[in-house]
């Protein structure tokens, strides 16, 4: 099993979810994060003070899939999340050694 950690633009979440559903991946865990990278932020000005807001809102998805599904999932996410503009985000694949479904105590591939 692998965990795919995907950092994407917030408004692409629905598209990515649909794309994953399309290849049979229905489970995932989502969090709001802030990204630093090449994409430039904006400036906020409050009376005398200027602040360079260099963090940008991003969505992080964690999706655990069986090894065989990894490549399909990467393709699906990348295709759905791409706008072609800087800041589209990254996909990282991490190894997962075990998985447990809490409700049933099923393990590993059965668990996700």
């Amino acid at each position: 099993m692998k965990m795919i950690e995907a950092i994407i633009k917030p408004f692409k979440l629905d598209d990515v979810k649909e794309a994953l559903a399309g290849i049979g991946v229905e489970g995932m865990t989502v969090s709001e994060v802030k990204g630093f990278g090449r994409q430039k932020g904006h400036t906020e000005i409050y009376r005398g003070s200027e602040y360079a807001v260099d963090f940008l809102p991003k969505i992080k998805l964690e999706i655990v899939v069986a090894d065989a599904q990894v490549e399909a999932a990467l393709q699906a996410i990348a295709a759905a999340a791409r706008t072609g503009k800087i800041g589209d985000g990254k996909l990282f694949v991490l190894p997962v050694e075990q998985a447990v479904r809490i409700r049933t105590a099923e393990r590993d591939d059965q668990a996700v």
Binding site: E44, I45, Y46, R47, G48, S49, Y51, V53
Partner: protein, 479 residues
């Protein structure tokens, strides 16, 4: 624990004192002759016109007049609304999330503390007859302050309502200072500073400007040495708090990380809610300062509206021109600046005067906040000086030029020959006295607090945020 002694003791002490205090029965000599029909009519007309009662007869109207009392109760409630929750939100939205409650606690604590001071001695020191620099103790513990009007100030308004209306001014004035020292002053130090500041600066100053025998009460005290005018508190409220705030924030030093860390408002939404409340409440402040629901109040209502609106457009417009975007904070700052600048003038000027004030109020404080602060490098966290100090000063001066008997016939009573001519010199003198009292006073008080309680929390505490450190609470719990 020890640190809150000053405050607790003060409150407790006052409470004890009052126990031994006899309640004065308001003696009333009812031996005046009965009024004629004509005199009774004249009294009723005086009520409608907010004129003086027919003296020397046993008038049939016992107390205040309902229209004026109704307006003044409304106005007093509106001025309280300016502080709680108005100003608390305006300031609370502008600090970082970890300090929002500390701002609210400062506003609440000041409201409570100042009310107690006002009841004990404040009202009396300001409004009881005394000398030109300070009032007497006749009204200490609000003794003798009943529902009958005090004709020295408002012939048709209950004196207790008048006292509460003026209390609300006494509450908001030191609360304005909170903006300058936000995020970095110990709670106990804030309260002690404010208590001393009221006694040493506000009460004398308010007496000089508004007291019946006050030194610079040009409009009402024929004997005033300085014939200045201040309708609703340009010197007393805004200059005094604004300049004291500047000095205090300079003594206090900058917030940790100032200029390096993002210190953006944690909620512009709160700030804007507060602004709306300030604007609405300011009608009580300005039109209420007529102390009647008369034509002068009506005029003040109009000039206040025009100045606030025009200044908001001017400030945001200046941002748009010079920085490319008009901001909500710009509009809000403009509204408040407009209201500040028009405060001393509102009952004395015409609509066109108010428009001019609006334009200047939008532009000059904008530059103070934008450039002056950067040049001089002080950390006036929420721009109390930039808006109230600069705005109050501007307003006091402009009042000298724009006041006209056309807008307020009372200007023709004691001030004929001055209004439209040398009034601005008297205004300058009043402004000088305000500074001469506020700046050294603040310096002494701040040092006193610094070397007793200490002014600032530790760096670690400041980083953690004052909400948890000083109040053991969090502003929001989002999960």
């Amino acid at each position: 624990m020890l640190k809150l002694c000053p405050w607790i003791l003060l409150a407790a002490g006052l409470c004890l004192v009052t126990v031994g205090f006899g309640l004065m029965a308001t003696a009333r000599a009812d031996t005046l002759p009965d009024p004629t029909l004509e005199q009774r009519l004249a009294d009723l007309e005086a009520y409608v016109n907010n004129g003086p009662r027919t003296a020397e007869v046993a008038g049939r109207i016992a107390g205040a007049g309902p229209g004026h009392n109704a307006w003044m109760m409304t106005a007093a409630a509106l001025v309280l609304f300016m502080t709680l929750p108005g100003l608390a939100l305006f300031y609370g939205g502008l600090v970082r999330r970890k300090n929002v409650l500390s701002v609210l606690a400062q506003c609440l604590g000041i409201a409570g503390l100042v009310t107690i001071l006002w009841w004990a001695v404040g009202y009396s020191l300001v409004f009881a007859p005394g000398r030109s620099l300070l009032g007497g103790l006749k009204f200490a513990f609000l003794n003798g302050v009943g529902s009958a009007p005090n004709p020295d100030y408002a012939g048709w308004v209950s004196q207790n309502v008048f006292a509460m209306f003026q209390l609300m001014f006494a509450v908001i004035t030191p609360a304005l200072i909170v903006g300058a020292i936000a995020e970095r002053m110990k709670y106990s130090a804030v309260l002690l500073f404010v208590a001393l500041w009221m006694l040493v600066i506000y009460f004398p100053l308010a007496h000089m400007v508004w007291g019946v025998d006050g030194l610079m009460n040009g409009a009402w005290n024929a004997a005033a040495r300085i014939k200045a005018i201040d309708f609703a508190g340009g010197t007393v409220v805004h200059m005094s708090s604004g300049w004291s705030a500047l000095l205090l924030c300079w003594i206090l030093g900058k917030r940790h990380g100032f200029g390096r860390v993002i210190m953006a408002p944690h909620s512009m939404v709160l700030c804007m809610i507060g602004t709306g409340m300030l604007w609405v409440g300011w009608y009580g402040f300005n039109a209420g300062s007529a102390l009647a629901a008369d034509g002068i109040a009506a005029n003040a209502f109009m000039t206040t509206t025009l100045a606030a609106a025009v200044a908001s457009v001017a400030w945001a417009g200046a941002e748009w021109l010079l920085r490319g975007k008009p901001s909500v904070l710009g509009f809000c700052s403009g509204v408040v600046a407009g209201l500040v600048v028009v405060t001393p003038a509102c009952g004395f000027i015409t609509a066109n005067g108010a428009i001019l004030i609006g334009v200047l109020a939008g532009v000059i404080p904008f530059f103070a906040c934008w450039k002056l602060k950067t040049w001089l490098g002080y950390d006036d966290a929420l721009d109390t000086f930039g808006i109230h100090g600069v705005g109050g000063t501007l307003g006091a001066l402009l009042t000298g030029f724009l006041a006209t008997p056309e807008a307020n016939a009372n200007l023709a009573t004691h001030l004929e020959g001055i209004v439209g001519h040398t009034l601005w010199l008297h205004q300058l003198a009043a402004m000088g006295i305000t500074l001469a009292l506020a700046l050294p006073g603040t310096l002494v008080i701040a040092c006193l607090v610094k070397f007793t309680l200490g002014l600032r929390p530790s760096a670690e505490e400041e980083l953690q945020g004052l909400d948890v450190v000083d109040h053991g609470e969090a502003g929001y719990l989002l999960d």
